[in-house]
Symmetry: C2
Subunit: 271 residues, 2 copies
Amino acid sequence: MAIAQFRAPHVADVTDPAAVRRAIRRGDITGHTAGLAPGRVQGNLAILPKDLAADFLRFCTLNPKPCPIIGLSEPGDPAVPSLGADLDIRTDLPRYRVWKDGVMVDEPTDIRSWWRDDLVSFVIGCSFSFEEALIQDGIPMRHIGCNTTVPMWRTNIACAPAGPFAGPMVVSMRPLKPADAIRAVQITSRFPAVHGAPVHLGLPEQIGIRDITKPDYGDPVEVKPDELPVFWACGVTPQSVIAAAKPPFAITHAPGSMLVTDLTNSRIAAL
Amino acid sequence: MAIAQFRAPHVADVTDPAAVRRAIRRGDITGHTAGLAPGRVQGNLAILPKDLAADFLRFCTLNPKPCPIIGLSEPGDPAVPSLGADLDIRTDLPRYRVWKDGVMVDEPTDIRSWWRDDLVSFVIGCSFSFEEALIQDGIPMRHIGCNTTVPMWRTNIACAPAGPFAGPMVVSMRPLKPADAIRAVQITSRFPAVHGAPVHLGLPEQIGIRDITKPDYGDPVEVKPDELPVFWACGVTPQSVIAAAKPPFAITHAPGSMLVTDLTNSRIAAL
């Protein structure tokens, strides 16, 4: 996962989430948000017209492990004050993807020109939060050590459908030694707002993964003989489901360009 | 695991732990205690002379996963009031084993004739408590379904030594589907007083288990292709360590003949 690129030599304070959002808004930070505002929750973004938003909200509610909602806007309102007082969803992510009928038509750094009065923003928890907790506990994340994107697969686990939104759960995989896998279950169980405990471990074929060396998204990582593959529900699930539903209009974040929120990872822990 | 045998046709109330202990004391209940006083904590028993008890207490303190102490007596005192007001450790277990220099010399139903003024009783948590929690959550325990004793192995995980007490951790194994294994980590993490979370899962050879079909203690159970073997630290560890230390004198419970305490399983949960 590439570290955020800094277009300008001086960005005020990359530990302050509001300062990070302002720098992104100005265009001073582009690219990935991994490593910015440590300790703060980052989120996946999905924006849909109001007439589809009700079904999508139902989809997320029915599938909280892959689609944990951490923020929700009023129709047409670019603010999500619960995630940051000054937050403007149209400008505060480094890069967006704009979709029409399931086809990506633009990848802008600002969506003010695409904004509409009927758009509803969904901010969905992301694994950065639980990865930070795992790393702080001394559990290594191989994809971070390798500076690659976590490997992800579409599984045979069907999400509960809602309106046009349906499809398989996407999972991310981290190889861990068995004792670390047990500890990782304990740690990530504390974070239901960012996918929570793993959904599977050890037997990838049971969830429809035929080749552990060939992810459907992201980059492959080695699973060593003394390790188990551990699988978490992944925030790519809602994006995959939106792509399959081919709505007339939708906006998502570009991969790795997440929304940096004011929420602290420690405050979203359940215990 | 054999269900308790009832020698007398009428045992007052097998749900009341004090009544169960009185029935055992009278000789009306013999054999295994599994299934008696549901919801109450049962314990492994180890009794040692005072001059060895300090080292054994240190051993248990250093190895809390296999040796979680739930009760401890004063030297020479057969009471453990924190586990039951009327409890008499000399009469309230269905069967005991008496050891001299590491050799079993008696297997009585009452140890009053063996009692000494220097004996210290250790009551150590047992897996019955967390198995009850797993079963209540809908997670099947194969060895219970098969009415056999849970399979156990000596591992290559060394316990921290204390005085003459040293040796490998013994683990018990329960085969579980991966999603149930994750849930079992969550549930048993709540019970540190009865071995807590698993110590290993999925790769038995990593902890020195060469043949998953041949346990060192207990009976084999099948691990199906869609299951992982999940390993918990086991209360047989202290017994195995005492046997290896060959103390001049020791008393333990006979396998399956546990101490029924007043403690409720729900009250020993950490969360």
